[in-house]
Structure formats: C-alpha cells, structure tokens
Symmetry: C2
Subunit: 217 residues, 2 copies
DNA sequence: ATATAATTTGAACCATGGTTCAAATTGTGG
DNA sequence: CCACAATTTGAACCATGGTTCAAATTATAT
C-alpha cells in the first residue's frame, strides 16, 4: 500500500502534527526557513526524517501551516480588540502589543520572516489574503482614530506600515532570555507608535487591560 | 595557470565587480537571497555562471559586499546627520528618512533582510560590528534628545528597535513603481516615530534640509 | 603580426537536502 | 493469540544549485 499519507486520521495524528508544527516553527524562527532542514526538524523531535512525510506533504506545508496559524492568531487578536476596547488609541495600543506577543510567543518566527516566496502559489495566495484582512483591520482602527479626532490627519497606509514594520521585525532580534519580555517590548513600541499619531493636545494613557496570547500552537 | 582569481586587477575588473554587485543586490532584494541562484545573477548580467567566480570567491561574498556597502552608507548617513543637523529631533528625523532611502534606493534589499545567517562567521562578525556602530549612533541621538528635554524619558533600546524595525521592514514591501517614493515613506515614518518620543508639550516640525542618498553602488 | 594578459565559457563535478518507500515495529480490537 | 491498522525507520533516490577549471576568446602591449 502506498506509504505516504500526509493527513493521517489515527488517534495520535493530531497531537503529533501539532508537536511537529511547534518544533518546526521554533526552528524556523531560530535558524531561518532555509537554514532549517527536514533532518534538523526530525532530529529535534527525536524521529527520523521519513516520518515527517507521514504527517505533512512537504516542507512548504510546514511553513504554510505555521504562517496560517500565526495569521489566525492575529485575526483573533483583532477581533478581541474590537470586542474589548472602545477608543481608537486604546485599540491600536492593544493591537500592537498583541501582535508582538503573538509572533514571538504564540507562533515564533513563521509569519514575520514573511518568507512567502518559499510557498507555492495557491498557499501563498491564502496567506497573503489573510495578511491583507489583518492589515485592513489595523488601518480601520487608524482611520477611526482620525475620524474621531484622536489621531491627527495622516497617511493611513504609511502609518500602518510603520507599525507592521516595527512589530514584525521583532522576530529578527527578540529572544526571551534576559532582557525584556515580548509584552514589555510591545508596550514600549505601542506607546511610541500611538503617541506618534495623536492629534496635538490629545491625551492618551495606556489601557489597563492585558492582551491574551493569541496564536499558540 | 589556476583560473580562479576572485580579486582581479585588470582594467575592467572594478567596473565589472560593481556591475555584478548592483545586479546581485537588486536580485537579492527582489527574490530573496536563497531564491536567487548564481545562474540567475549571471543570466541577469548576460554572462555565464563561471564568470562570476572570476570576480567573487563565492555567493556569500556577494551578499557580504552588498551588506557591507549598505552599512557603509548608513554610517556615512549618521556622520552627515551629525554634521548637518543640530537638534536631536531633527537629527532623528533625518536619520530615519536617510535610512529608508539608503536601503531601498542605495543598495536595495541586502541589509534589511538581515540574512547574516547565510554568512560565514568572520564576515558575519564584521557586518554585526558595523551594524552595532550604526545602532549606537541612533541610540546616542535618542539619549541626547532625552537629556536635552526634547524627548520624554523612555527605554532607549526599545525606541531604537521600533525605529529600526519600521525602517528595515520596508525592504519587504517597498517597490518604486507607483505609490510613494522612499523619501515620502521615510518622512511619514520619521514624523510618527519622532513625535512618538517627544516630551508632552515639546514642539517639532520636520527640518527643511534634504538627506542625500547614501550607499549607492 | 605576435606574445602575453585578461576575461569568458559552459560542461562537469559534487554536496546538500527534499522526498520516497519497502520493510519493520508498535498499537489496537476481537 | 492473531489480524489488521497505524506509525516509524533509514537507506536510497534525485533535483538543485554552488563551484571548478581546461580551453577558448578577447584585449593589450610590443
């Protein structure tokens, strides 16, 4: 019987797939997608390389699922912020904090490397589509802030790109050991980026509520 | 006679090396370092793949020289800003604008991917050392601003990282065709990031001087 | 015109790493 | 205990792409 299954339905399959995804995501974050081989991932998991192909069609599938999970986490974050904060400045603050936490503690590394070049076209399209939905949510918060007079009039696209850049680049350098945690980094970023958008004279204090960790595998 | 020269001194050598570096830098920016093959670079230049090795020892050398040139451009930028602007807010503004221009119009793509993982250890050390000098220059400007009372007291390292993140991430999405130029993007970012650091009540208007393009190959 | 230097070619070599798969092992139900 | 399903193994296969180099071509100096 043909051996390659790549979507097994046995009792251990789901747990095993999540275990593999966590390990792959961590490795991609630490070493980079290209510097991480399937033998490395297998070795980290204490299995042999052929076994990975029982659960996943290929290496790109691993990357795709990691990125997809991250984006699901970011979209969940956006929905949570919409439900749990009112003012645009508060919402933007929480989005930024949640974003940094999601990509550094939720699913480390796999979105922010943005290595969609390594994905084949239909998977890349799916990832890009989810990214766009999230970026739209971000821009909507900024536009709401301008409309409400909390933010000064500004180029919304540029403002959103600055925020995404600051947040996404954290996967290049953030490491948990020593120093500040992801939440503290996120709060520092959010303070600066939100204050940078305020209408002169507008007041802002960081909100009291704490963002959950979204996107955990 | 041994064919591999990799540092030829003939009359055409320097011009050819710069031509190769420009083409490689562009390709690395467009496609990513790993997705760009030596055959691709050769083909873009209308030469054959073996010829590249007459001028450069290996693929990593191409990456190293591109990144080194970008960092030289950023260090030149920092020096120019020190010579041509006085106030910390003005200096920071110009640094951010110049940074975005340097990495998108000067030497596209090769620093901001930060793909130093792909470099061997001694080259990586050189790149990281130059990067640190530039980041120190950036932090010094922020510290000067805090000391002068222009910026509010803040975590300087976090503020610098937000700035570097926003600026460096631009190579992931910035494309010259259509839309805003690098200078306009940089000015939008700089406005937001500098204003985000100001002491409440401090005034700031973008400076009138225009940053040159540093780092051009 | 000729000798020498510089530059280019392009096929071949080679290591790497993604992927396959027959056989083996382990788990589970009757 | 046995049959079958699920899972694992690990050597082999194979494509890719970095690199080499003998030979050829072009450029330059005499």
């Amino acid at each position: 019987m043909v051996q390659i299954v790549a979507n097994p339905a046995g009792p251990k399959a789901l747990a095993r797939k999540l275990e593999i995804l966590r390990s792959a995501s961590y490795a991609f974050g630490e070493r980079g997608y290209h510097e991480t081989g399937m033998r490395d991932i297998a070795s980290d998991l204490g299995m042999t390389v052929g076994n990975l192909y029982y659960y996943f069609a290929n290496k790109q599938a691993l990357l795709y699922f990691c990125q997809d999970e991250t984006l699901n986490g970011l979209l969940d974050l956006a929905a949570w912020v919409g439900d749990n904060a009112e003012g645009a400045a508060e919402r933007l603050f929480l989005l930024i904090v949640g974003h940094v936490i999601c990509i550094n503690e939720g699913v480390p590394g796999s979105l922010a490397h943005h290595d969609v070049e390594a994905l084949e076209a239909s998977w890349r399209a799916k990832i890009v589509r989810k990214r766009r939905r999230y970026e739209l949510a971000l821009r909507t918060v900024i536009e709401d802030g301008i409309r409400a007079g909390v933010f000064a009039k500004t180029d919304v696209k540029v403002a959103a790109l600055a925020i995404l850049g600051a947040a996404n680049w954290t996967v290049k350098w953030f490491r948990e050991e020593g120093g500040l945690g992801a939440r503290a980094v996120g709060e520092g970023f959010a303070g600066q980026l939100v204050r940078g958008l305020l209408r002169p004279g507008a007041r802002f204090e960081p909100p009291n509520i704490q963002v959950p960790v979204f996107g955990g595998l």
